[in-house]
């Protein structure tokens, strides 16, 4: 099971075994690069971002609590943050550079952590497709485009308050769809 193997890899990475880091790369490198490339559209910078993200895992494996979240999700969140960081450096909002891309995740519940670790790409694509179009659009502009909520409001001509709630409600809906799809709904509501 991928999740159990991830925990072993994480332990080996904590023990400073470079082969374990390369094994992690073999497992998730194509996905990480796919994500960085989707955001940046430039293979050279995307590779830089991917390498940076794996090195961050290498340096910070000790601080990651495998009981609290999925290693894959952590890695990809670092890739995402660094890629968005690069997009923003291309000249929109220098003040956003101060964001810490690896702020520790706050209390993802154990069950939700399990869901995240076992999600399949197809499940997520299906759930995203079920979102109302305007919610999906706002989320994608933020996630893949690196736009802030006010930039999304400007670009779409939709009031900021509406964008805020589309982002929030869209994500909540997405989470519910994913949890329901993985058959974990009862466990989630029971915690």
């Amino acid at each position: 099971m991928a999740e159990a193997a991830d925990v072993e890899l994480l332990h080996a990475i904590s023990r400073r075994d470079p082969d374990a880091l390369v094994a992690l790369y073999d497992r998730y490198g194509r996905l990480a690069f796919g994500l960085a490339y989707r955001i940046l559209g430039d293979p050279a910078t995307a590779e830089e971002v991917v390498q940076d993200a794996f090195m961050r895992v290498w340096q910070r494996a000790d601080s990651f609590d495998a009981e609290r979240g999925s290693l894959r999700a952590w890695l990809l969140s670092i890739v995402h943050h660094r890629a968005i960081d690069q997009v923003r450096k291309r000249g929109i909002h220098p003040e956003d550079e101060a964001l810490d891309p690896i702020a520790p995740r706050l209390g993802v519940s154990d069950v939700w952590g399990d869901v995240l670790a076992t999600l399949e790409a197809e499940q997520v694509r299906r759930a995203v497709a079920e979102l109302p179009g305007e919610q999906r659009q706002a989320i994608e502009l933020a996630y893949f485009g690196g736009l802030t909520h006010s930039e999304i409001a400007q670009q779409t001509g939709i009031p900021l308050g509406t964008i805020k709630s589309r982002l929030r409600l869209g994500l909540r809906r997405l989470q519910q769809l994913l949890v329901a799809d993985t058959g974990q709904a009862e466990k989630i509501s029971g915690t």
Binding site: F33, M55, L99, W112, I139, H149, I152, L167, R168, Q175
Partner: protein, 252 residues
Amino acid sequence: MAPENGYDHDEVQSLLGAYALDALPETERARVAEHLPGCAACRAELAELTGAVDALALTVAERDPSPELRERLRLAAVASLDGAAPGTPLAGAAPVPDAPPRPTAQPNIRLVANRFAPWAIAAVFLLFALGMLGWNVSLRQQVSAASVALQTTSAAPAARGELTYLKGRQVLILDVRDLPALAPGEVYQVWLIQGSTPIPSGVFAASSARLALAADPANYQAVAITVEPGPLGNSTPQGDKVVVTPLTALGG
């Protein structure tokens, strides 16, 4: 609930989606972050929203990076390990065009990985060998290897270390510890002595270092370390010698 920073609970809550997506300008982001430690309800909602954001990464199509990225990553990981430095100067190479330097916790990793182009093939090989040496596998039992103690000079009375030759890989590992602290701007420079010609073979600035040299001792008479001006060292040794070790015992 306490609007001391100007944001009440409802305002923060309305921003949680944007916060989870990292889509807030810094001032708003900081205010949400301030509110969270005292508000379990917001933390719980944020955990769910963050999970949904994390899942979005899975919707992209997987894509093949260049095949070199895998070895670059291994190289960077090995190079970051304690004392393992490649036997070549890192400074002075061309900057990387596409990626402006960012403040990261490990700037040297980028240097090692990105400034190696001419050395890439050799360095990958060497560091791979070094990497294996450091792990639970005892390479000495698997690969024919021989060691001699370093001979230090009166300029480095406390220094010690050894040279190990991995015959199967033609890699000479220089492991040196407890050299005297350098003055600012100085580096230690390693030399392979061929006949009477010292060949510059890398610099380092720490008092302990482990370097891999692509060298068969049969082709050299000695290894030396001198103190030279940094960051690149000299083309011929000018400074004080701290180590001079003949390679005869290793086949030199």
